[in-house]
Symmetry: C2
Subunit: 191 residues, 2 copies
């Protein structure tokens, strides 16, 4: 069911990702929908609200992807599935993911606080993944959990700049994890 409101949300994500929030005018959005800019205000309250809705949609997608990671898998397997999930969201919703990762600082007031809290919560969930992996013995005991989480989150957060939608996304996540798990030097896995 394609609604005009949905069309606007999609075009807003696309243009905010392509030109940035401040580089996109309500006039640009109106052109993309083929209407006059005054008409947009029956579909949204403000440009700021369009940004906020895009961010909420991003937060929802990334958290939902993490929800799918099973509690009972091994530490390495959980990291692998979490990275697959994150990269899949980026690949399937590249515009929303781009705006979520890069344009949050143009939010104002309470909108900004709410989205920042969601971003922090997402990163905390990742850190917990590593912390639990360490405690359950799936990761080396001297692992720097903060640095490890930061490293993987960097790969995840930078992905919108290079990921090509529909091109072996899962396999790429696995290749990252393979390097992370066994290292650049790569000793053989013990029997």
């Amino acid at each position: 069911m394609a609604t005009r409101k949905g069309d606007l949300a999609r075009e807003a994500a696309r243009l905010f990702a392509e030109r940035g929030f401040h580089g996109t005018s309500m006039g640009n959005l109106a052109d993309a929908l083929g209407v006059q800019k005054g008409s947009l205000y029956s579909l949204t309250g403000s440009k700021q609200e369009l940004l906020f809705e895009t961010m909420r949609s991003g937060a929802r997608a990334f958290h939902a992807a993490l929800d799918e990671v099973p509690d009972d898998a091994s530490a390495v397997e959980r990291v692998r599935l979490a990275l697959r999930g994150h990269l899949r969201v980026v690949a399937e919703q590249i515009d929303v993911a781009t705006v979520f990762t890069r344009e949050w600082r143009y939010l104002e007031g309470d909108d900004r606080e709410l989205i920042l809290a969601e971003r922090r919560r997402y990163e905390d969930r990742w850190r917990r993944l590593f912390q639990e992996g360490l405690e359950s013995g799936g990761l080396r005991t001297d692992l720097d959990v903060g640095a490890a989480a930061l490293l993987v989150l960097s790969a995840a957060n930078w992905a919108y700049t290079w990921l090509t939608p529909g091109r072996d996304t899962d396999e790429l996540a696995d290749r990252f994890v393979a390097i992370l798990v066994d290292g650049l030097r790569g000793y053989a896995t013990p029997a």
Copy 2:
């Protein structure tokens, strides 16, 4: 020797990093320097030129850091020093690094092509670092060079979002490399 032109370049980098290129007006820059906005045009040709000069300064700094990596060190050591160099540039010139990493797409015409070429060249130099490491035997023979370079470049390019200037930057680079080299599972180094 503090010149007005230098003051303007510094304030431009700071504001472009803080509010984004399109979120910063010539009026904001004039306020930061304590002059009227018309006066800025004796120091620069246009707002676009200020962005371009910031980008050139970033490109210069990152390439210069890579120049310092010795040719004759081991593969792992070269990666470690290259990451140290990159993070040091981010820490010491956080505004320039932020703009270089995030605002390049607001450049137009030839300026954009030139800076994009410099960015590509920088990433190529990193890939070569891994390629040479593989050929000299310092890295595991089945290493996916493209994925490994992308992983480290992600950590490097995301650093402007979390790096605190002047706080153990070198040590953090070393911790990243330690995880990358020996892996999350971490087998003992062979004798």
